[in-house]
Structure formats: C-alpha cells, structure tokens
Amino acid sequence: MSDDQAIQAVRATLKAERIQPFKGDELEAVRSVESCINCGLCIGHCPVVRGVGVERFSGPRSIALELSRSPPEFWATADKVYLCTGCGTCREVCPKKVNVPEIVNLIRARIFQQRPDLVPKPLLDVRDIIVKHSLAFEPWEDPQEKAESRDTRVKALGLPSVPDRIVTGADVLFYPGCQAEERAQEVKEAAKYILSYYGVNYTMLNRLTCCGLPSKLMGDDETARSLAGVLHDKVKSLAVKKIVTTCAGCTSNLSDISTRDGWGVPVYHLVEFLAEQVGFDKVSRPFKGRGRFSPPVKVTVHDPCHLIRHTSRQIVEHGRTILNFIPGVAVEESGLADSCCGGGGMVGYHSRDVADAVVRDNIAAISATEADTLVAPCPLCTAQIESNLFRSGSTTEVEDLSVFIARRLPQKR
C-alpha cells in the first residue's frame, strides 16, 4: 500500500468504526454520566416516562446507563433519544447530578453527523430555516405585514407602543429570541415597555439572529457553534455589559455559551433582571396603592424548565414576588407549576403525541384551579400550554408573564 492509500484506509476505518471524539467542552457532561448508580429515581420523575411509559421512552436511566456508553452505537438510540424534552427533572432529582439533558444533545450531535438519515425529518426542515435565515421560525416576508400584525395585537392587549431602540453605548442588550421576534411579538413589545418604564438604558440588535438552542437540541452542533460566534461578534461590537431576554431557553443557552466562549457578559431573564438589577423596591413602587385593572384576577403560574432546572429556581420565585406586588392579582398554585410543558427538546416537531402526553397532568391541574389566566415567563411554554388548554375545553387564558406585567403597569404621570 502506498502512503496515500494507507491514510485513506485509516480514514475509512475511523469512519466505519464511527469514531468521533468528544470536544473538550463536552467532557464535563460526559464525565457526569459516569456517576450513575442505577437507583432509578429519575424514572419516577421523568415527565416523558410519566406520559408515555418506560416502554416507549426508556428514560433518563437508560440514557445514562445504557445508551451513552459506546459512541459507535449511538446511531441505534434514535428511537429513544429524540423523545427527551430536555427538561432536566432527572438531573434535578439525581443523587449524583448526572447531566442527562446534555448527554442527549451529545448523542443527537453524533447521529446528526454520522447518520443524518436517522434524524427525524421535521428537525431537518427546521434546520433548513435556521441555515437560511439564522432564525428558528420562518420570518415574515413583508416587514409591513409584520408591523401590522404586531400593532393589532398590542392594541388589543392595551399595551403602549414603544419604538424599537437600537442605540450605541447602552449597558444592556435586550434579546427577545426568535419566537418573540417572529411569532409572539407582543412579548417583545411588553419587554421593551417594561425596560423603558424602569429607565433601563438598553439597546436591541439590528437584526436578530438565533441563539442556537434549537440547533443544539437537534444535534446540529456546527450550526449552533456558528450562530454562537455570530452573536458573540454582535455583542462585542455593541460593547454591552449585560444581556436581558424574555425567553427561558435563551436565558439558559446564552448563559451557557457566554461562559463557554468567554463573552464576559452575564445573561438575565427579564424577571431576574428586574429582581436583581432594578430591585424589588423600585419595581414595586409604581404598584403601591394603585391598580390599573380593578376586577381581581386569579392567576396560576407555570415555571419553565429552562429557568428552574437549567438556570435557577430563584428566578420563578422572583416572578411570584413581582406578581404579588400587582394589586388585584391573586396567585393560586396548580401544584404542578414545575412540571414540564412538553414543549422542549424539539419533541413536538416530530412526536406531537408524546409532547402532549407530557403536559396532560399539568393541564388537568391548571384547569382545576379555574384561574382566569395562566402566566409563564417563556413564549414556548406559553404556546404549548395554550394549545393544550384550549383543546381540553378550559377557558383559562394564557399570557406571557412579561405581557401580564406590562399590561398592569400603572400609567406614568
């Protein structure tokens, strides 16, 4: 064999044996899996297992103990590994803090690279959109129509209109995320209003690009890293000191990549920002003694997994504190506020029945509160719960927490 032929043979062997080493920043998650002691606690808590049974989704235990042991065999996990919603409930109850959600992403990344034929087709469709537009949703073609749609919704909600703010020298970057940008525009408007209301010197991006979480969740590691790089450049050129977002997924993902890629810029969910940076005193002041909505409203809360389990449960505690400032608002807990809505992990794109099975108990608990409104600080959870609540015949409305707060901020004199 000639030298060239030999090198070709080596490459062929590495490919045939499916040898694809883990990257340095993946090693921590890989190591965490080695601690699994097969106690099975995760099986009892996993919302997907609860929804469809261990037979359909073998669960976090099998991901840790069986499916992730041999990378050359990852291709044979495609019937299970795409059903994980990435909620992190398993990791939260695990005595050893095995990082199952991250391992799921790593396995999906290898399937994506080695056997794209086994990736669920709807995910590849989303990939096409992302690669084309750097957004996770097909953007509005006509900016005029987009603005009209936004205005209509904002008007119906009684939200004041705040012009887009793109300035230099701002401390804070407001990052609405793809969903608020292209689908739930009222969330973006509400956040802008809240930030302006409390005098925050913020800017927005000229053109929003995706933070990369959907790419990461489908295993498209290359695109995810590339999007992270694009965003890093934008953040650098804006020279902001903080990032604020209204999307739970963006909160955890941006926190992640900011640390991993050394941005030196902390990321806050809007609720977090209000609590920690603006301060409860300042936040509560406008509500004291005044109420904009006189009929009392009963509200129940949903806690997004990307906040409570991928960032910190303190954030939703702050959310409740803020809700309690608002006169006329009574919060009733459903008892399952922290139960996954099923909207995560891109599961709904290809296995809608599984995603809806996950949220079933949640919907029942929400309906039982007979609340007027359900609030959630995440547009993805909001969309998933809204469609399921509606189909169950409940009359409870669903609103993003940012919108709920913004609508009730008293007029400034």
Binding site: M1, Q5, A6, I7, A9, V10, T13, L14, E17, I19, Q20, P21, F22, K23, G24, R31, V33, E34, S35, C36, I37, N38, C39, G40, S58, R61, S62, L65, E66, L67, S68, R69, S70, P71, P72, E73, A76, T77, A78, D79, K80, P95, K96
Partner: protein, 550 residues
C-alpha cells in the same frame, strides 16, 4: 460406560476448539469442563486476536497468528470487533523499540485487510484520540481485531455438540487409569448431581490450562507449566475511542483497549504458585496499570473503574528467563514419549492460536486413530455468522428498542432471530432485565434453554448480564428469579443464587473500590443487606475459594 474416540479435558478456548475439530472430523468426542465454558484463563483475557505484536522475535508465530486472524474473520465475523491502536511516545527512546515490529506487522497486513503501520504526527494522533498526553512526540497507528472470548468458546462448544459431541460442564475429572485394550478410563465428578461418572476413551486431550500438569499427573504423565498471573482493570464506557499501547512502569508494554461498552486496561504478568481459583487482583497490580497508562492518558483516574479480573496463564515451562522472554507459542506434549499412550497435553498458547492448536492436535489424534480426515474448522462458519442483520427493521418488526437489537446482534449475529421469535408467544419477555447492556428477558431464557448455564455467573458469560457499571445491582435478583423458574430451583436455591453471584461480582469489585463504586456498593448493600436482609439469612452459603483463602 460410554465409549469415545477422544475425551477433551478443559472447556476453554483450546478445549472447545479441539472438541469442535474432532467432532467435525467424525470422531466420537467428549468434552469435560470442571466449571463452565470459558470460566478460567480465556475468561480473564482482553479478547485480542493478536496479529503477533509480541512475538516479533518468532516470525513463524507471527505468520501463524496473522493467518489465524484471517480464518477468524471468515468463520466468526459477527463476534469480531476492530480497534485502531495508537502507541503514543513521549521520548525518543520509545521510538526505537517500534522499528522491528512495524516491519513485521506491515509485511502481513494486506492479508488481514488492514493498513500497514503508519507513523502519525502528534496533531493527527490527538485528533483521533484527544485524551492522549498533548506532549507526545509521535505515535504509530495500526489495527487489531478483538473477539468476545465467551461467545467464541461457547459457539465452538455448541458447534461440537451439534455435530455429535457430548459437552459436559460442571464435570471435574478426578481419576484416570489405563484400561483393557489400550483404552483410558476417565472418572469424573458430576458437580450438579453430586454423582461419580465414568467414560472410556481411546485418546485424552489435556487442555486443562493452569491445571494441565495436575491432570496429566492423574494418569501418571509428567507435565511442567510455568504459571503466570495477570490482572485487568475494567473501566466503564468507551472513555477512549481507540486502543492505546504504552510503556509501563517497568518497561513492559501495557494497553488500554475499548471492548464493546467498556475499556480494558491490562495487563500484569507475575509468576505464581497460588491456586488459580483464589486469584484476585492486588492493589499493586491496579496501581501499576494506572500509573503506567497515566503517562499517555493523563485523565485516566477520572474514569470509573467498575471491576478487576485476574487470570492465570499456563506458559510453556522455560525457566531462568524473564516471563516476557518465554515463548508465546504453544507446545503439544505426546506422553507416549514417557510410555503413556493416548495422552496429549498442551502448554502455552494464546487465544488467537486456539484453532491452530486444535488442528495440530486433532491431526495427531486422527493419525493415532488411523483416520484420514482433513481439518475444515477454518472454513465452516460458526453459528450466527451467516449474513447481515438489519437492526432497524428487526426492532420495528418485533417492537423492541433498536439498541437492544444492536447489542443482540453484537452477541449473536443472525442467531438473534431465534431470540426475538420467543417474544411472539411471550411478549412479556421483551422486558429489559439488565439495564446496562441491555439484556431482554427473551435472551436470558433462550440462553438458559439452549446454552446450558447453571448459574448467574455462567449466564453472565452468555449474555453479559451484570457487566455494566452497576455490576448486577438490580439485574441479579431479577435474573435469579428467571433462572430459578427455568431450572426449577427451590426458594432457598433462588436466594443462594443471588448470594453466589453477588460474591462473584464482589471478587472483582473489591480490589479497586473507589469513587462512584462506593456509592454503587452502598446501593447494592442497601438492597440485598438492608432491605433484603440476605446478610442474616439462614441459607447454607458455601464460601468461595478466594473467600476462604483470605
């Protein structure tokens, strides 16, 4: 008393290969194994079917090994795995020892359909295996084949049985004597029925491995072996992607080989006169291996050690030289040279040679018996090797997880169809019993019915039960119930089976006890002692040899 042409003593790689060859050539064959198939030396090796790496001083042996690899790939492709291997070098002096090897290897690489030895730059080596020490200056690259030793031995035994041989496990040979007409009487103790049995045979092939000398002595034959013990440390999951070979603490070569869903770190080599049944890995051996590999894979101590294993090699008795200089070839001793007709004994040998060893000895047996039949063991495939398996299609068809089917394929090849068929009538048997592999109940029942395991430990060799990171924490009691049902155990036997398997797993778990295994052991003790209260049972538990030796 049954009469045989040949009685093979020992059910390891050599014994089962001999039984197969004899049976294939039409000889009436009996195999007597004291314990279970592959329960001794071959059960503690790394499973490499070596191309001759260590034997470059003996080019004939390298030729033989290389050819045997080709044969194995033909007859047992489905249980063979390929590992690329790197030899990271940190110093110039490491380079010089490679030269001759590279040449000898590359001469024959084309026959095995692998590339010749390549020399890689540090960058290329690190790309293939990022966990290597970044200060390496060069690395060789070559490819070796590995086989599941338990499946190989079992398939050879099953093939022999299919062709008319009697395969008897749990049968310990206690006496042998010459009988009328030049026959040999072989007396053995059936450990399952606690009864003595006997057989008449014309030839005895002594493949007793570490006990070969004692077995020969039963007939008055003289055989000397140089017994040498070696340890392996088993790490969970594929912490490295390719094999790594490095220079050890004392200048020997040691290795880190991925093996299915684990990684094997081995091996040590120490002369021993201990009873092989009592051997357990020592702290010294474990630290020797870890320190040796740590130079080239610095993060090795972060990996989870799940157990150790210790075995005894029956080396050819060459003395007053370091064990590394002892030949790794084999010897067949025809005891007719000392006036004992009909006894043939093996010393030495390696896993890769077992078929060749069998061919040599079976040729001799045939000659003695006046039979002129040629060996075809290198042509006829072992069961399961008949073709490709469409894992995804089968998973969909039988409604079982794809990964479970893939693991079944890795163990059984085309034979997995028979396992899955059982689930048509018994869909409950699609349940996973071992969560680490996984192993479904259907495979366990199939193995019990077709592959004659008598204990959970035997079952472990058939289906890899309890070989994962949890080392049988949960599957032990579930599989014990299945075994108890199939073999009609009493309630006491059922619980004793659990104790026996826990003690067998503990044998390997105890020496390296550290890190996550401390938590794992707390769970195990929590289940079987704290809840199950089996530590206070009145069961008649028999202490094992290594437990008594301490």
């Amino acid at each position: 008393m049954n009469e045989y042409d040949v009685a093979v003593i020992g059910g390891g790689s050599t014994g089962t290969a001999v039984a197969r060859d004899c049976a294939m050539r039409g000889l009436k064959t009996l195999l007597l194994e004291r314990d279970d198939i592959a329960s001794a030396t071959v059960g503690t090796c790394a499973g490499m079917i070596s191309s001759g790496l260590k034997y470059m001083e003996e080019p004939d042996i390298v030729d033989m090994c290389s050819q045997e690899v080709v044969h194995f790939n033909r007859i047992a492709r489905h249980i063979i795995m390929k590992n690329p291997i790197l030899t990271p070098m940190l110093e110039m002096s490491d380079l010089s020892s490679g030269g001759n090897f590279a040449e000898e290897y590359s001469k024959r690489s084309a026959t095995r359909e692998v590339p010749p030895v390549l020399f890689l730059t540090p960058e290329d080596a690190l790309k293939i295996e990022p966990k290597l020490n970044p200060e390496l200056i060069a690395s060789m690259y070559f490819e070796e084949f590995f086989i599941d030793p338990f499946r190989l031995c079992l398939l050879q035994a099953l093939d022999a049985r299919r062709r008319g041989a009697d395969i008897r496990t749990y049968s310990e040979v206690t006496e042998m004597n010459k009988s009328a007409g030049g026959m040999i009487e072989v007396h053995f103790f059936n450990r399952l029925t606690a009864e003595k049995e006997s057989a008449l045979t014309r030839i005895v092939v002594n493949a007793g491995g570490p006990w070969a000398d004692k077995i020969a002595a039963l007939l008055g034959g003289h055989l000397e072996i140089r017994l040498n013990k070696g340890a392996h440390v088993i790490l969970d999951r594929r912490v490295v992607n390719v094999g790594v070979i490095a220079k050890a603490v004392d200048g020997r070569m040691i290795y880190l080989f991925p093996h299915e869903n684990t990684v094997l770190l081995g091996t040590t080599a120490l002369d021993t006169w201990e009873d092989p049944d009592t051997l357990v890995a020592s702290h010294d051996e474990i630290e020797y291996l870890l320190k040796s590999i740590e130079w080239v894979v610095p993060s090795i101590r972060q990996a989870r050690i799940i157990r150790t294993m210790e075995g005894a090699r029956p080396l050819v008795a060459q003395w007053k030289i370091p064990e590394g200089k002892v030949t790794r070839g084999y010897q067949v001793v025809d005891h007719s040279s000392e006036g004992l007709e009909g006894l043939l004994s093996f010393t030495g040998g390696k896993l890769v040679m077992c078929r060749h060893m069998a061919e040599t000895v079976t040729d001799m047996v045939c000659k003695k018996l006046g039979k002129d039949v040629k060996c075809t063991t290198h042509i006829e495939p072992l069961s399961g090797n008949e073709g490709n398996v469409d894992v995804l299609a089968l998973a969909a068809q039988y409604r079982v997880s794809q990964h479970a089917v893939e693991r079944l394929r890795a163990r059984r090849g085309t034979e997995l169809g028979k396992v899955l068929d059982l689930t048509r009538e018994h869909p409950e048997w699609l349940s996973a019993i071992c969560t680490c592999e996984p192993v479904i109940e259907a495979e366990i029942r199939y193995a019990i019915r077709e592959e004659f395991p008598q204990t959970l430990n035997d079952l472990r060799r058939r289906v890899r039960l309890g070989t994962g990171p949890c080392q049988g924490t949960l599957c032990t009691f579930k599989a014990a119930a299945i075994l108890a049902e199939e073999l009609d155990f009493t309630g006491e036997q059922f619980q004793l089976e659990i104790l026996d398997y826990l003690s067998e797993r503990w044998k390997g778990k105890r020496p390296p006890m550290r890190g996550e295994q401390l938590s794992q052991e707390e769970v195990v003790q929590g289940i079987y002692a704290c809840v199950g209260n089996l530590d206070h049972s009145e069961l008649r538990y028999e202490p094992k040899p290594w437990e008594e030796a301490s």
